[in-house]
Structure formats: structure tokens, C-alpha cells
């Protein structure tokens, strides 16, 4: 599908405009900042992934024989913290969002380029704090920091970890702030809300959550740190405090946080599917408003993490019914994606394979959410491997596959090179197979009763654990491949044209890679989003003309 014509002379673009480390570390170009983030989050992905591998290795046998119990407890804690706060939450917004949103809205940059750079530095500072914490002893509270264990009993570096995540939160807030102002104020003339790519809508909804939710976990962590340092008693029953207050405050952010992690991915998939079906999205407005609905309802369901924590039956009823409400817009999106394929003209390039994988695995993950929202079932499977399987289906089978799909889709635009299609399809398949082998057995393990965060377990659970570990090694291979061939392509990949996918969207109207200021002239938009009929008609006519 790639079209070939590419200029032979090296043009100026954002990559070669300036060389030298200072030009990168002091850049305000949103595209360069996106790449800075790309390198940083990939680094943390491998750290988190390494912890995951150790966890799966330990769980090959029922006995705790690879690492000590305390070490294992630190491994799963830091796996969660690194993956959630230093990989998943930034990933798509900070890499693809930063790179693409100005291009998609027809602007030269985000509203606040210097704040964008600041957000990266804040992320790096937080990352250094986290690394230091991990290297000097680590933390073992679980990523959920429940009190009073975290405030009064753990002997690990809770304060450092809490502060690192506190700092990282500001990076997230500033990114969200930048996106909202950009989307409101910097759209090109003619680009009305109903003409925006749904990727932009998804990031708008994500940014609302980042802006309103993140400060709450920030202040919660401040209180935890203060309590631990000064023995305050806000969350400690021995001093008159309430441990459940911590849980409410924590989950008030951490539930919407999972929507921060999935909405951008949904946005990516909503760009890929129309392109590789050559038709507009089915039900544009419904998909757009579903993103907003998810963001709004996502703030109303936090205590579904606390059904067995000691909340009243009435509270549980309210949160259960609201949790079903939040499932509806996600279901609507799955149906709309599927309907978009109907009577399309479908191509199987790697981005599309990832999109297919996303829709399938997100469906499974989302359906298992229905199990968990059912109060009677949750009592049985809460804090078991069922929960672990559920959220990994969404975050890895969903968010991460969307991220990889997006990286492949926009790689030509970002790097000016094509990735090797054959290897990419193989990697997508390996990821899909490895993922299911790793996590499907965990649903069964959970219903059979295996608790989570267990260093050792009764022997009856071993077979499923071995299957899961085998899957994890396959999955690891699947993740290493793109790293390698993306790097390879930067030197040896075929140069990409402006629009190798013949995709709709303003980002595809500029050169690959773009120049620093994106557009030679400000575009004026007079067409609807996903105008694939016009694009393909023009292409057909052109092809007939060219021969």
C-alpha cells in the first residue's frame, strides 16, 4: 500500500533542523518532546517488564524459592508503580498525543510549549526519584499503598516512593492542561468539534480526567507521607483515624486513572480502523460522546474497589449500579468499531492487526468487568488472580496494543521511515498469542481461589501458573521485536512519503517527518473527518491518470 515517491535531497525536518544535545534538552518543539518521552517511557517499560519477568519466574513453583518474600513483595509493588505511573499513564498522551495533537488541529505547536518541556523534566525528576527509591531498597506496600500498613508498618521506602509518584502526577496534569487549551483555542479555521479526529476527542476526555483526578492522589500521597513521617493518625485507627478514608481518597483518582490509560488507546484504534477499512467511522458523534461519558461516569464508581472493604451494603449497591452505567459507552464503542468494518475495504497491515487485537481483547477485559461489578461475584474474586487477569486484559491487551498499533501507524510520520511490514505482522501475532497464554489462565486461577500478591501458593495452582509464565516469555519476545526493528528502520528503513497509508487527517498532509513548525501555511478545513471516499476517489483517478 505504500506509495514510493520520495525526494532524493535531504529536506529540513524537525529531526535534522538542529543537532546536539542542547537542541534536544532545551527544545520546545512538541515533536521532539514526544520523542524524549518515547525514550523515557520505553526505559521504564523495560524496568517494569523486568520485574514482571521475575514475578512470573518465581511463580513457576509453588514454593518461594527464587527470591525472598520481602523481595517478591517489592517486585509486584514496583512493577505496578512503574507500569502505571511511569509507563501507561504517560504513554500514548505524552508520545502520540504530544506529537500529533498540534498536527491534527492544524497548529504550529501546543498552547504552552515551554510547559510541555517542563512536564517532561518533571517526569524525569520523578523517574530519578523512583529509580533511587528502587535501587536503595524499594517499597513493598503494593501500588495501592493501603493504610495503616503503608503509614505505620512497612519498613521500606514508602515516603520516597510516595513523593516520586506525587511529582510524576504534575507531569500528567500539565500534559492534560496543555491538551485542553490547545484543543479549545488552537484549532485551524473550519475545524469544528464535529470535524475533529476522534483521537483528539479521546485525548480531550483523558485530559479532563488528568486535570481533575490527579490532584486528589497528589494530596492523598502528601497525607500518607506526612502521616508516616510525623505519626499523625489521619488514617491510623490506633490514633483515631480511618483506614477506609485512605481507600476512598486513593480510589477517587485511581479508578479514573484506568480511563486515562485506556481512552487514548481507544482514540488510536478509532484512527486506525477507518484508515484500513477505507471508510468513515460508524456513528462518529456516538463515539465522541462515549469518550466524554466514560470520563464523567469514571469519576462516579471508585468504591467498586471496596465492595468487601467494609463499606455499607447501600454504598455497595450505588457503586455497583454506576459501574454498569460506565460499561455502556465502552460497549457502544466496540459495536461502532465493528460496524465500521462492515462493507469496508480492509487491509491487514500491522496497525490494523493491533487494532483487531485491541477490539477483541478489550471486549474480553470489559466483559470480565461485568463480572466484577456484580456484587455477589466480586466477593469471591476480589483480590484474586481474576482481578489481575481483568486489568491486564484491558491495560496490556487493550492499552498497550493500542499504543503499539499507534506507534506503527504513525511511525512513518514520526521517523520518515517505514518499519518492516513482515516482521511487524509477526510481532503482532506473537504479542497476541503470548498475551492470551499469559493472562487467560489467570482468570481460571482467580476463580479457583488463588489470591493475588502471593509469593508462595498451594500446589494445586501450579499448572496454570506454569502456562502463564510460558506465555510471558513469548510476550517478552513479542515486545522486543518492535524495539529492534523500529531502531533498525531509523537507519535502514525505506523512506516514507507524506502519506503512505493514504490516511485522512491533517498530520498526513505535511511531509514525513514534519518540519519544526508543522505547516508551511495554516490549513483551512472544509471537509469532514475520515473523508476516505474523497481520498480514494482522488487516488483512483490519479492512478488512472498516472497509469
Amino acid at each position: 500500500m505504500a506509495t514510493a515517491t520520495v525526494p532524493a535531497v535531504e529536506r529540513e525536518d524537525y529531526l535534522n533542523k538542529e543537532y546536539g544535545i542542547a537542541s534536544w534538552l532545551l527544545t520546545t518543539d512538541h515533536k521532539r518532546i514526544a520523542l524524549l518521552y518515547l525514550i523515557s517511557i520505553t526505559f521504564f517499560f523495560f524496568i517494569g517488564g523486568f520485574f514482571a519477568l521475575l514475578i512470573r519466574l518465581e511463580l513457576l513453583t509453588p514454593a518461594g524459592d527464587l527470591v525472598q518474600a520481602d523481595t517478591y513483595n517489592k517486585l509486584f509493588t514496583m512493577h505496578g508503580q512503574v507500569m502505571v505511573f511511569f509507563f501507561l499513564i504517560p504513554s500514548i498522551p505524552a508520545v502520540l498525543g504530544n506529537f500529533l495533537i498540534p498536527l491534527m488541529v492544524g497548529a504550529k505547536d501546543l498552547a504552552f510549549p515551554r510547559i510541555n518541556l517542563l512536564s517532561w523534566y518533571i517526569y524525569i525528576i520523578a523517574g530519578i526519584m523512583m529509580m533511587h527509591c528502587m535501587l536503595t531498597g524499594g517499597v513493598d506496600t503494593g501500588w495501592t499503598f493501603y493504610t495503616p500498613f503503608s503509614t505505620a508498618f512497612s519498613n521500606t521506602k514508602v515516603i520516597e516512593a510516595g513523593l516520586a509518584i506525587f511529582v510524576a502526577g504534575f507531569s500528567s496534569i500539565l500534559t492534560g492542561l496543555n491538551f485542553v487549551v490547545t484543543i479549545h483555542r488552537m484549532r485551524a479555521p473550519g475545524l469544528t468539534w464535529s470535524r475533529l479526529p476522534l483521537f483528539v476527542w479521546a485525548h480531550y476526555a483523558t485530559s479532563i480526567i488528568q486535570i481533575l483526578g490527579t490532584p486528589v492522589i497528589a494530596i492523598t500521597l502528601v497525607l500518607v507521607v506526612a502521616e508516616r513521617a510525623l505519626h499523625l493518625g489521619i488514617f491510623d485507627p490506633k490514633l483515631g483515624g480511618d483506614p477506609l478514608l485512605f481507600q476512598h481518597l486513593f480510589w477517587f483518582y485511581s479508578h479514573p486513572a484506568v480511563y486515562i490509560m485506556i481512552l487514548p488507546s481507544m482514540g488510536v484504534v478509532t484512527e486506525i480502523i477507518p484508515c484500513f477499512s477505507r471508510k468513515r467511522v460508524f456513528g462518529y458523534m456516538f463515539v465522541a460522546l462515549s469518550s466524554i461519558a466514560i470520563a464523567v461516569f469514571g469519576f462516579l464508581v471508585w468504591a467498586h474497589h471496596m465492595f468487601v472493604a467494609g463499606i455499607s451494603v447501600y454504598a455497595a449497591l450505588v457503586f455497583s449500579i454506576l459501574s454498569y452505567a460506565v460499561a455502556v459507552p465502552s460497549a457502544v464503542k466496540v459495536f461502532n468499531w465493528t460496524a465500521t468494518l462492515y462493507k469496508g475495504s480492509i487491509y491487514y497491515n500491522a496497525p490494523m492487526l493491533y487494532a483487531f487485537g485491541f477490539v477483541g481483547l478489550f471486549t474480553v477485559g470489559g466483559l470480565t468487568g461485568l463480572f466484577l461489578a456484580a456484587l455477589g461475584i466480586d466477593m469471591h474474586v476480589h483480590d484474586t488472580y481474576f482481578i489481575i487477569a481483568h486489568f491486564h486484559y484491558i491495560m496490556v491487551g487493550g492499552a498497550l496494543m493500542g499504543y503499539l498499533g499507534g506507534m506503527h501507524f504513525w511511525w512513518p510520520k514520526i521517523s520518515g521511515r517505514l518499519y518492516p511490514e513482515g516482521w511487524a505482522r509477526l510481532a503482532a501475532l506473537i504479542v497476541f498469542i503470548g498475551f492470551n497464554l499469559t493472562f487467560f489462565p489467570q482468570f481460571i486461577l482467580g476463580y479457583l481461589g488463588m489470591p493475588r500478591r502471593y509469593w508462595q501458593y498451594p500446589a494445586q495452582y501450579q499448572v496454570l501458573n506454569v502456562l502463564s509464565t510460558a506465555g510471558a516469555t513469548v510476550l517478552a519476545v513479542g515486545y522486543l521485536l518492535p524495539m529492534m526493528y523500529f531502531l533498525w528502520s531509523m537507519r535502514y528503513g525505506k523512506p516514507a512519503s507524506d502519506n503512505p497509508w493514504r490516511a485522512a487527517g491533517l498530520e498526513w498532509t505535511v511531509q514525513s517527518p514534519p518540519t519544526t513548525f508543522n505547516f508551511p501555511e495554516q490549513p483551512v478545513v472544509t471537509w469532514e473527518a475520515y473523508n476516505y471516499d474523497e481520498i480514494d476517489k482522488n487516488y483512483q483517478e490519479e492512478a488512472q491518470v498516472v497509469g
Binding site: G64, A69, N73, G142, Y146, F149, F153, P237, K238, P243, L244, L245, H248, S277, R278, K279, R280, F282, G283, Y284, F286, G310, S312, A316, S320, A325, V328, A331, V332, N336, T338, L341, Y342, K343, I346, F356, G360, T363, L367, T368, L370, A373, A374, G376, I377, D378, M379, H380, H382, D383, L448, G449, P451, R453, Y454, W455, Q456, Y457, Y532, D533
Partner: protein
């Protein structure tokens, strides 16, 4: 009751299986049927509002059914039957200490007769734990500073796993045990094998040792309310509120007496925080409960209300 959980689970499995099959089939079929062919353009379809409404409203309807079913099962799970045998459980890093109302003490194991309703009154003496018997499909977090409740009725003799399912530190995965369900005759035999007398008797001793009887007399002359027959009944406080005298109320009254002063009495009761262990508290609670007739008409055996200092809790449904 576990059967009810499994029934809902199987319903959800079938439903999810069908939906997954539907979506997967649609994806695969569309991907194959509409694979790009030379010269064939895609057909642009904006959408279909009737279709959108259909696939919004039908799932919502199905979800409401699931919600209702799950809620019914949950009510059952959180409402112990009257006359259930009571066992007091104290979780601590990293073991379970159990004490039957009849007095037997166990560590990391719980012997129960088959077919009997068993109500667990749980608390922690340090961090949050969670008491889980997967094979009975029950689980309840065990929180320091308050009582939580769970119940079950075992239907088959055997040995069943007990796990701690709220991460609690180094030996979280070692905080496990067994539930031993026995035939009634065996259970009687086990029970008679040595105990220190019923829990309420220990409670009576502690009640005397700590001088509670000085103020809490069984006539109306005491400086403190008469505790005879008050368990499970409403109590009017001096600020006008009415609360139910359940286990959490008793516990709070011992540890933080100033927070709920009964109408007509002065706030002179000293606090016993730090002076009684969790086990002693359990014994005292068992003793005070024994002063009320077990299932007097009108005595509520409700799902326990959380202490009023719990977030948004209040009295629960029976």
C-alpha cells in the same frame, strides 16, 4: 449460598462467551468478507441512530439484570441468619486467631459442624487483612479499629482453604489455614476436647476485673446504663441520635466512650484503649451480648452496622 454465586457466574460466562463469540465472529467475518479488492471502493456509512439506541439500551437492560442478581446474592452474603453460631476472629501479622463463642481457641484453623450457620465477627490488631474461604465463595476484609462480619453454612465435610487476601506484609502468603467441616458427632467430640469455658464467661471475668460492674449495674442506680437486654436494640444518645447497639457500638463504647453518650447519663466513662487486647474486647462483647436474650422477638440480627466513625456507613439492611 456458594451455589448462588456460581449460578450467576455461569450465567455471566455464557453471556460473555456469546458476546465474545459474536464480536470475534463479526471481526473475522468482516475482515475476510470485506478484504480489499482492486477497483472496489468501501461504502461510506455515517451511522444509524436506531442501531445505536438499540445497542445502548439492550446492554443497559442486560446490565441491570446482572446488577439486580448480583445485588440479591450480595444481600444474602452480608446478612448472617439469626441464631448463627458466632466465632470471633482476630487477624494479625501473620496468623488468624479464632475463638468460638463456646470458648475453643484455634490458630489458623476453624472447626465447624456441617450444616450449621456460622457467623464470623472479625477484626485486626494491626493492618488490614482479609478472611477468604474460596470454596465457600466468601471474603471479608478484616479492618483494625472495627468489627466486620461474614457468615457461611458448610454443606459438605472436608478441609477447605483459608487465605488472607489483603496484602499485609512479608508473610501475607503464609497467612493461610484450613476450615475443617465435620459431621456433628465428630464436632461434638472435638468441642469437648478442652476449652476454657464459653467466651462470655471470660468476658464476665474481665468485666469484673476492670471494674465495669461498678457503674454498669443491673438496677437503674448506676452511673452507666444498664447492660441487661440492651444488645441489638436502639439506643438514644444525648445529642438526639438513635443508634443500634451492635458489636461495633459496644466496641466503640469501650474504646472511645465520649463519642456516643447515652441520653440521661454523664460522660464520665474512662477509655480502655490500650488497656484491653482484641481478644479481651471480643470476650467483653460476647459477655454483654449474653445479657440479652438470644432471639427475642424484635431483636435484630442485622448485617452489622459499621462504627459511626466509618465513612458513610450507618445501619445496614437485615
Amino acid at each position: 449460598m456458594a451455589g448462588n454465586v456460581d449460578a450467576l457466574y455461569i450465567f455471566l460466562l455464557i453471556l460473555s462467551g456469546m458476546m465474545t463469540l459474536l464480536i470475534f465472529t463479526a471481526l473475522v467475518y468482516f475482515a475476510a468478507r470485506y478484504r480489499h479488492r482492486k477497483g472496489v471502493l468501501a461504502e461510506q456509512i455515517e451511522g444509524s441512530t436506531p442501531l445505536e439506541l438499540t445497542w445502548t439500551i439492550i446492554p443497559l437492560g442486560v446490565f441491570m439484570v446482572i446488577f439486580a442478581w448480583g445485588a440479591v446474592v450480595y444481600f444474602q452474603q452480608r446478612t448472617p441468619p439469626r441464631d448463627a453460631t458466632e466465632v470471633y476472629v482476630v487477624g494479625k501479622q501473620w496468623m488468624w486467631k479464632l475463638e468460638h463463642a463456646e470458648g475453643q481457641r484455634e490458630i489458623n484453623s476453624l472447626h465447624v459442624p456441617v450444616g450449621r450457620d456460622v457467623k464470623l465477627i472479625l477484626t485486626s490488631q494491626d493492618v488490614i487483612h482479609s478472611f477468604s474461604i474460596p470454596e465457600f465463595r466468601i471474603k471479608q476484609d478484616v479492618v483494625p479499629g472495627r468489627y466486620t462480619v461474614a457468615w457461611f453454612r458448610a454443606t459438605k465435610p472436608g478441609s477447605y482453604h483459608l487465605f488472607c487476601t489483603q496484602y499485609c506484609g512479608t508473610e501475607h502468603s503464609g497467612m493461610i489455614g484450613t476450615i475443617e467441616v465435620m459431621e456433628p458427632a465428630q464436632y461434638e467430640a472435638w468441642m469437648s476436647g478442652g476449652s476454657t469455658g464459653p467466651l462470655s464467661a471470660s468476658g464476665e471475668r474481665i468485666f469484673a476485673e476492670l471494674g465495669c460492674a461498678t457503674c454498669h449495674r443491673s438496677d437503674s442506680q448506676g452511673r452507666g446504663p444498664n447492660l441487661q437486654g440492651m444488645f441489638g436494640k436502639p439506643v438514644q444518645l444525648e445529642d438526639g441520635r438513635i443508634v443500634t447497639a451492635d458489636e461495633n457500638y459496644l466496641r466503640e463504647s469501650i474504646l472511645d466512650p465520649g463519642s456516643k453518650v447515652v441520653r440521661g447519663f454523664k460522660p464520665v466513662m474512662p477509655t480502655f484503649q490500650g488497656l484491653v487486647s482484641e481478644e479481651q474486647l471480643n470476650a467483653l462483647v460476647a459477655y454483654v451480648k449474653s445479657l440479652s436474650p438470644p432471639s427475642a422477638p424484635g431483636a435484630k440480627n442485622a448485617a452489622m452496622s459499621a462504627p459511626q466513625s466509618g465513612p458513610g456507613q450507618g445501619n445496614q439492611v437485615q
